[in-house]
Amino acid sequence: MPAPAAAVTRRTAEDREAFADWIRPHWDGLAQLARRLAPPAEWEDVLQEALSAAWRKRGQFDEQRGTARNWLLAIVADQARKGRRRMRWLSRVADDAYEDEPADPDLDRAVAQLAMRQRTAVVLHYYLGLPVADVAAVMSCAPGTVKSTLSDARTQLRRALGEDYR
């Protein structure tokens, strides 16, 4: 019979493998969301912290309340929000630029300047391709709220991009 400490270590290793298998199908999407929501110099830290939070909170996941993907995306969005707060107060580093050249730089700049809730909704819906119902699950709000948030975001984007309002 192994010593208690060794048993704990083994259980942790087994847990870790199961956790990795559980996360892996969603990993690229989580990285994409962190890349879009977090400041450029911080997105990998945000992803790391989100992964740490998911590991610690894994016992709290309830599949009756939603999918693993939405639960994990919500953690990334939450960490990104907190990361942006820290950045704003600690260093005021400009966060409206990306490391990689985007396909539509004007649009990317405008999206980067949206309020965090609007930006989160836009990135989840348009960039990650989630339907409104899933965006609502990630953002812990009603689908109607997502729709109004997207509508407000598009209004802001039109203003930023100089589109005619008719």
Partner: protein, 316 residues
């Protein structure tokens, strides 16, 4: 689909198809599953404690119109909080709204996150409002933040908090007398916060069957929003700056509301019913809108354009 939708959709497709390298999951998992020390908590926690400043925007609609007055911060007495919790300090509050029927009740918003937790995480906290002082000219309010101690960490892991709440909590403040013309001051920073008076916000005189009023809140850019919920849609009346007078995706119709020229327009989200916006200018500096957001979760139809115009024209 309009130009912006196409542009966003195209940017999203390109973003998803560009196979950008994600960091190694296994490498990151090493860091994620390693126990950490509480000494790393200090910096992010301290930052998040101060990063909850609300922004007060003065609007003519507010009872206390907010002249940007900034008094000297008041030294707040240490308050008592929920049983078993400890006091983490005061935080700023925002968006005060006067109760529609009780002139001595004011609601304010305060954040519930960010004061306690492990590295990169934060626990839910409980904000508690208290009155610091009431004078004939001003009421000074402070909001204290409280949290309960974390339980001991399980073997091989660490405590964490399941804080996923993105919104603030509304707190109720009962004053000794009606607020009247007095200003409200945040004890944390000494700033005056304009108070939204429901009496200053347009109200529907006609409500379609099944629709009820829900509440009043601050909107973007110092606007005020009165909300209604019905079986097939929600309605919001917004009164605020002149920039509110705009249209969404495409204009359906032009009409008159409260004697002013108004546009009826609609936006489009693929797979959902169209939402409708009626907008007009009240005067040179103020505008108002009636926005109908369809409810996708019900089979009950949203209001027709004609019915929505009738609703808008009943605003008083």
């Amino acid at each position: 689909m309009n130009d912006l939708d196409e542009r966003l959709t195209r940017a999203g497709e390109q973003f998803r198809s560009a196979a950008e390298r994600a960091p190694s999951l296994d490498a990151m998992l090493d860091g994620a599953t390693r126990p950490r020390h509480w000494t790393r908590v200090i910096l992010p926690v301290a930052a998040s404690v101060v990063a909850v400043a609300g922004v007060a925007i003065a609007v003519p609609l507010a009872r206390s119109s907010g002249h940007g007055h900034r008094a000297a911060p008041t030294a707040a007495a240490r308050p008592s909080g929920p049983p078993g919790s400890h006091y983490l300090g005061d935080e700023t509050w925002s968006e005060p709204v006067l109760d529609a029927t009780h002139p001595n009740i004011v609601y304010v918003n305060a954040e519930q996150t960010g004061a306690q937790g492990s590295w990169g995480s934060a626990c839910t906290t409980t904000p508690v409002a208290r009155i610091i002082s009431q004078t004939p000219d001003a009421v000074t309010i402070a909001v204290g933040k409280y949290a309960k101690p974390l339980p001991p960490p399980p073997p091989g892991s660490e405590n964490a908090c399941s804080d996923m709440d993105l919104g603030p909590k509304q707190l109720t403040i009962v004053l000794g007398q009606p607020l009247g013309r007095r200003v409200m001051i945040d004890a944390t920073d000494g700033a005056t916060r304009p108070v939204l008076d429901p009496a200053s916000v347009l109200k529907l005189g006609y409500l379609p069957a099944g629709y009820t009023q829900r509440g009043i809140s601050w909107g973007d850019k110092g606007s005020a929003v009165r909300s209604y919920q019905g079986p097939g849609s929600s309605l919001s009346v917004t009164v605020g700056p002149a920039s509110l007078n705009r249209s969404m995706g495409h204009i359906i119709k032009r009409t008159t509301v409260r004697g002013h020229p108004a546009t009826v327009s609609s936006d489009f989200i693929p797979g959902f019913e169209q939402d409708i916006l009626i907008a007009w200018s009240e005067d040179a500096t103020h505008a108002a809108t009636l926005y109908q957001m369809s409810d996708y979760s019900t089979t009950h139809p949203a209001l027709s354009v004609a019915e929505l115009i009738r609703v808008a024209q009943s605003l008083r």
